[in-house]
C-alpha cells in the first residue's frame, strides 16, 4: 500500500472530483471533498516523512521503467511543496462549506467542489511528476479548473477576470509546450532527470537557449512575475473567498516550484546562471515587482485586490531569493513559499469571514469591525503582521533568511529595499487596521446586525494563524527542510 502512495496522491483527488460532481445536496459534496482533502494531506505527510528518512522516491506509473514510462519522482523539494498544497487544501475546504453557500448559486456548489478537487489534483500532479509533458497536462488541469473557480464569483467582473486569465494562462502554457518540444527535439527524452543528464552533455546548440527562453517566459506568466502579472489582481479579487484563499496560497507557489525544477534539475544551475545569466534577468524584475506592487497595494480601495497586489510583491521576494542562486538564497525562497502560503491563506480567509457577515470588502466596510468581529479582525492583524515580517511570525523568518542571503552577496541597497518595502506592507495593512479599530461603526440597522463570523469559518482561519505564529517561534523544521531542498537543487552534498 505505502509503495503506491505517490500515485494515490494524485489519483484519489482526480477520481473523487468525478464522484463529487454527481453528489447532491451540496453538503454531501462538501463533506466528501473535505474527507478527500484530509486523505491527500495525510499522504503528503507520509511522503515527506519517507523522503526525509529514506531519500528520493521513484515511482514508475504502470510499471513502465523510466525514461520511457512516466516517473513520479519525489525528493525533499517537491515533498515540501506537496505538503504546502495539501495543507492549504485541507484547511480551506472545511472553511468553504459555509463561505461558499453565501457566495455561489446553490445548484453550482457541488460543481465548485469538483473544480476545487480538480485544481488540487493538477497542482499536486505538477509537483509530483518527473516527466515534463506530464507537467503540461497537470498544468492545464489545474488552470482550467482555476478559470472555472474564478468565474464562479458573484459579481459579473468575475467573468471577465476569468476570461483574461484564460487567455494569458493559455498563452503561457503554450509557451511551455513549445519549450518542451524544443527540448525533446534535441534530447529525445521527456524525463526530467534524463533530460538533465543529456543536456549537460550537449554543447553549443541554439535550440537549448531558445527552449530555455520559452520555458522561462511561459512559467513566469503562470507565476505572475512582473511584468507578466496582469491577470492576477482581478482573478483574486473576483473569485469566491474560499477559491481565492486556495489559489493565492498554492497556484503561484507551484509555478515557482516548476521554475526551480526546470532551472536546476533540467537545465542545471551552471547553464541557467552562468551561460544564460538568469540572475541578471530575474533580479531586476523581482526588485521592480517588490517595490511597484507594494506601492500599488497602498492605494487600493478593495481590500481583496490590495492583498492580490501584495501577493505580487511577495512573489518578488521569492524570485529575489532564487535569482541570487546560492544555497542561502534558495533556502530563503523556498522558505517563503511555505510562509507566504500560510499567511496569505489566513488573510484571504479572514476577508472571507468579513464578506460572510458584511457582504463587502471595500475599505469603508471595515469601519468598526474591530468591535463587531473581534476574532476575525485579530486573525487579520496577526496574519498581517506576519506579512510585514514582525518577529515571532513566519514572515520574520523569511525576511531574515532573505536579507542574510542578500548580504552574503554584499548587496546593501537590495537589503535596504527589502526592509523599506516591509514598511510599505505595514502601511497597507495599517489602513485596514485603522478602518477596523479607529473608525466608529456606521449606525444603521445593517451594520448593527453584523456579528462575529461562525466557528466553521473562524476555526480554519485561526488554525493557519496559529501555524503562522508556531513556525515563527520554532522554525527548525521549515528551515531544515527548505535548506535541504536548496542543497538538493544545487547538488551540494551534505
Amino acid at each position: 500500500m505505502t509503495a503506491h502512495l505517490p500515485v494515490l496522491q494524485v489519483v484519489i483527488p482526480l477520481m473523487a472530483a468525478a464522484v463529487c460532481a454527481a453528489l447532491r445536496p451540496a453538503r454531501v459534496a462538501w463533506a466528501f471533498a473535505v474527507l478527500v482533502s484530509w486523505t491527500v494531506f495525510v499522504i503528503a505527510v507520509l511522503l515527506l516523512r519517507e523522503v526525509l528518512a529514506g531519500g528520493t522516491i521513484s515511482y514508475e506509473i504502470g510499471g513502465w521503467a523510466a525514461p520511457w514510462g512516466i516517473e513520479y519522482r519525489i525528493d525533499v523539494v517537491n515533498a515540501f511543496v506537496l505538503l504546502i498544497v495539501s495543507t492549504v487544501g485541507a484547511v480551506v475546504l472545511p472553511y468553504a462549506g459555509d463561505s461558499v453557500e453565501r457566495e455561489i448559486r446553490r445548484d453550482q456548489i457541488p460543481l465548485f467542489y469538483t473544480a476545487f478537487l480538480l485544481c488540487l489534483t493538477g497542482l499536486l500532479g505538477i509537483t509530483i511528476t518527473g516527466d515534463v509533458f506530464n507537467v503540461f497536462v497537470f498544468l492545464e488541469i489545474s488552470s482550467l479548473s482555476t478559470y472555472t473557480l474564478v468565474a464562479m464569483g458573484r459579481e459579473r467582473g468575475a467573468l471577465t477576470a476569468a476570461f483574461r486569465y484564460l487567455v494569458m494562462g493559455s498563452v503561457g502554457a503554450t509557451f511551455i509546450v513549445i519549450g518542451i518540444g524544443l527540448l525533446y527535439s534535441v534530447t529525445g527524452t521527456l524525463n526530467m532527470v534524463d533530460l538533465g543528464l543529456r543536456l549537460s552533455e550537449l554543447t553549443a546548440t541554439r535550440t537549448v537557449p531558445v527552449a530555455f527562453a520559452f520555458l522561462t517566459v511561459g512559467i513566469s506568466l503562470k507565476l505572475a512575475l512582473f511584468p507578466l502579472h496582469l491577470w492576477l489582481p482581478n482573478a483574486y479579487a473576483y473569485a469566491p473567498s474560499a477559491a481565492t484563499a486556495f489559489i493565492a496560497a498554492t497556484a503561484t507557489k507551484v509555478a515557482v516550484y516548476m521554475l526551480l525544477r526546470f532551472f536546476f534539475t533540467v537545465f542545471g544551475a551552471t547553464f541557467s546562471f552562468d551561460t544564460m545569466q538568469l540572475g541578471f534577468v530575474l533580479l531586476p524584475l523581482a526588485l521592480v515587482a517588490i517595490f511597484s506592487m507594494s506601492l500599488v497595494a497602498i492605494f487600493q480601495v478593495n481590500v481583496k485586490r490590495m492583498l492580490a497586489y501584495s501577493s505580487l510583491a511577495q512573489i518578488g521576494y521569492i524570485t529575489l531569493g532564487i535569482s541570487i542562486g546560492t544555497v542561502t538564497g534558495l533556502t530563503a525562497g523556498i522558505l517563503h513559499l511555505f510562509n507566504h502560503a500560510m499567511m496569505k491563506a489566513a488573510l484571504f480567509m479572514a476577508l472571507g469571514c468579513v464578506i460572510y457577515r458584511v457582504g463587502s470588502i471595500r475599505i469603508e466596510a471595515f469601519h468598526g469591525l474591530g468591535k463587531r468581529m473581534p476574532l476575525t479582525m485579530a486573525a487579520f492583524v496577526v496574519a498581517g503582521l506576519s506579512l510585514v515580517g514582525v518577529p515571532l511570525t513566519v514572515g520574520f523568518i523569511s525576511k531574515w533568511y532573505l536579507i542574510l542571503a542578500v548580504l552574503e552577496q554584499g548587496w546593501w541597497p537590495v537589503a535596504a529595499l527589502v526592509l523599506f518595502t516591509s514598511l510599505m506592507a505595514l502601511v497597507y495593512i495599517w489602513r485596514v487596521v485603522e478602518a477596523a479599530y479607529f473608525h466608529p461603526s456606521p449606525t444603521d440597522e445593517v451594520a448593527a446586525a453584523v456579528r462575529e463570523a461562525p466557528l466553521s469559518l473562524l476555526i480554519p482561519t485561526w488554525i493557519l494563524v496559529v501555524v503562522n505564529v508556531y513556525f515563527g517561534v520554532d522554525a527548525t523544521l521549515t528551515v531544515e527542510v527548505a535548506g535541504r531542498a536548496a542543497e538538493a537543487l544545487l547538488g551540494v552534498p551534505r
Binding site: F133, L144, Y147, T174, V177, Y184
Partner: protein, 126 residues
C-alpha cells in the same frame, strides 16, 4: 533555397504562430481572441508532428527486417494537447456567452468602459 523548401513545415508553423499570437494581442473582440489562441495552439501541434516525421518513414509497426519509421510519440503527445486545446476553447466560449449575458457586449474595450462607469457610480454613492 534548399533551406527554405526543406523546412516548409516549420515556415508554416512560424507563420501561424505569429499570426495567432498577433490576433490574441491586437483584437478586443473576445471571440476573435479565442480564434487567435486556437491558431496559436494549432501551430504548436504542427511543430510537434513535424518533429516526429521522417521522410519515407513507415508507421511504427513490427515488420521483418530493419525499417525507417516516424516517431509516434510526438503525435501521441499532441493528441493530449488537442484535447486540452478543445477544453480551453470550449471554456473560453462558455465564458464569452456568460459575459454577453452579463454585459450585453463581448468587446473588451466596451466592457472596460462599463466597469469604469460602475466604479465611478460606487464612488459617487459614498
Amino acid at each position: 533555397m534548399e533551406f527554405l523548401v526543406g523546412h516548409y513545415n516549420y515556415w508554416v508553423v512560424v507563420f501561424l504562430m505569429m499570426l495567432g499570437f498577433y490576433v490574441v494581442i491586437s483584437r478586443t473582440h473576445m471571440v476573435k481572441v479565442l480564434v487567435g489562441l486556437s491558431v496559436f495552439q494549432t501551430s504548436v501541434f504542427i511543430f510537434y508532428i513535424s518533429l516526429g516525421k521522417i521522410r519515407g518513414g513507415t508507421a511504427p509497426i513490427l515488420i521483418d527486417g530493419p525499417a525507417v519509421y516516424s516517431n509516434p510519440l510526438t503525435s501521441v503527445l499532441i493528441l493530449t494537447a488537442i484535447v486540452v486545446s478543445i477544453a480551453t476553447t470550449a471554456l473560453g466560449l462558455a465564458l464569452v456567452v456568460r459575459i454577453n449575458e452579463a454585459y450585453g457586449t463581448v468587446d473588451e474595450e466596451e466592457i472596460d468602459a462599463i466597469e469604469r462607469a460602475d466604479e465611478a457610480a460606487v464612488l459617487e454613492a459614498r
